[in-house]
């Protein structure tokens, strides 16, 4: 008789208990372990901060509460711009850029995807554009647009405020990235969806608007909002062409008071600006997921 695999072994049943070392950090012991490790790690960091030889000097130079408050509110009489007001400039630049980037990025993505013969010169332009603006550092784009366009002395075009040039530069730079994100999102919609839309006699525009984009947006929201979080921070680049936003105000403060507490204030304000957006992104993803799972 051929060899058989015996599944009805008469041996003792196998043990299902985990090895003891794996049980060390479970249950109440686990809680204790997590408290102890938190205290050790955080305590260690704080100890380094307080006990290092230059600790006191750094605390004074970066975390002086009095100077932090002064940087936040500013002092016009003393020629000090307020970091707190400066961040408002960052916020409006971000909001304005965001809208234009979405419009412009979508247009570029659409041109790059379309197969219409009429658009072929634009397709080449869009590709070149994407390559150029993803390749040049944002700092340089801001500087080139900010100083260059003003230098052209083209009347109205050259007479805008630096903040306008900064917005144009950021829009140019980010639209190239956002276009690629949107393009990837559009390509992620399964071909069957496009066939189904076509078979209902929908035009290319309606297929894009009603079937492809709504599905693409879902996949694209996390990477897109990532780009926008990065954009929020990059509004600080406007400082190099003289826009008085948070970083510029903090630098002015640093130069006149020889103290960097303003930079920390600016950092905290940027954090206050970006964290809501990251939370909002997570919320959107969760809501979409729940809604579709609940089927309401």
């Amino acid at each position: 008789m051929a060899a058989q695999i015996d599944t009805s072994s008469t041996d003792a049943p196998p043990s299902l208990f985990a090895p003891r070392r794996r049980l060390l950090f479970t249950g109440r012991r686990g809680t204790v372990a997590s408290v102890v490790s938190t205290v050790l790690v955080l305590g260690g960091l704080i100890a380094v901060f307080y006990l290092s030889p230059g600790g006191a000097a750094v605390r004074y130079a970066y975390f002086n509460p009095h100077l932090m408050w002064l940087a936040f509110v500013g002092d016009p009489a003393d020629g000090l711009s307020s970091v707190g007001l400066g961040i408002l400039t960052n916020i409006w630049m971000f909001l304005v850029c965001e809208v234009f980037i979405l419009i412009f990025g979508l247009a570029i993505a659409w041109v790059r995807i379309s197969k219409t013969p009429v658009l072929s010169p634009f397709r080449i332009l869009a590709t070149v554009y994407s390559d150029i603006f993803r390749g040049i550092p944002g700092l340089l784009v801001v500087a080139l647009v900010g100083f260059g366009v003003r230098g052209l002395s083209l009347g109205w075009i050259s007479n805008q405020s630096p903040a306008v040039y900064a917005c144009i530069a950021l829009t140019l730079s980010y639209s190239a990235y956002v276009a690629e994100v949107l393009r990837a999102g559009i390509y992620s919609v399964p071909n069957g969806q496009i066939m189904a839309a076509k078979s209902l006699g929908l035009s290319n525009y309606t297929t894009m608007r009603r079937v492809i984009l709504p599905q693409a947006v879902r996949t694209v929201i996390p990477p897109l909002l990532n780009d926008f979080i990065s954009l929020q921070k990059d509004t600080a680049l406007a400082s190099i062409i003289g826009v008085v936003e948070a970083v510029n105000a903090a630098t002015i403060f640093q130069d006149s008071k020889f103290n960097s507490s303003g930079l920390v204030v600016a950092s905290l304000l940027f954090l206050a600006m970006t964290i809501p957006l990251t939370r909002f992104t997570d919320h959107l993803i969760a809501r979409d997921r729940n809604r579709r799972l609940a089927g309401t």
Partner: protein
Amino acid sequence: MTGVTREVVLGLDSVVKRFGDVEVLKGVSLSLHRHEVVCLIGSSGSGKSTLLRCANLLETVDGGSITLFGQSLHDARIDPILVRRHIGIVFQSFNLFPHLTVIDNILLGPVHALKRNRNEVQAEAMALLERIGLADRAKEYPDRLSGGQQQRVAIVRSLAMQPSLLLLDEVTSALDPTLVGEVLDLLRDLAAQGTTMLIATHEMNFARDVAHQVVHLDGGVLVEQGPPAQIFENPQHESTRAFLSRSR
């Protein structure tokens, strides 16, 4: 066929389709008359799906011609979008729009392609859903429905366009055996009402019951065509006999 001559809805004349070097359709000719149900049978890869997609202009043909109501679809002045509004197609994989509710899936075509009044179409769509017993699921998203329910919604979505003919591409092949029946029952209803249909299927009993004509495709060639009694009881061609014995 009976002696009555009826209007030819869809006509295929020596249609050839190639994907690269592979010839998938090698000159297939076929006519579909008004109120006629034609079933395409044949093993996987015989060209059934490709034939349906060509008829709907989702694929372009490399030779021969296709006519719809006597008009050649290869005329440069033909608008493929208009053609597709008259030809419904249902796919093996349902392809419902996951971001739209059941009712919105059905309304999309009539409202956005035909520009019909939303409320008016909504009443029709609800009546269609009522008929397939899914009226109470109208506000749900497709992924909450079983495969059989999704496929029935997909069929209703096509019907809402009031097409002149319906193409069905192995619509039960992706379904659990227990769910096949409900979809085939809907198709039987449609056939009884005189819906013009071209059905690619592996369900031989269904084809025998419903079809006026059965067409056997093998390797991109139309091997044999005839009424179901002839094809199933007395196939003339060796390859049809072989295929049918494998399908039993």
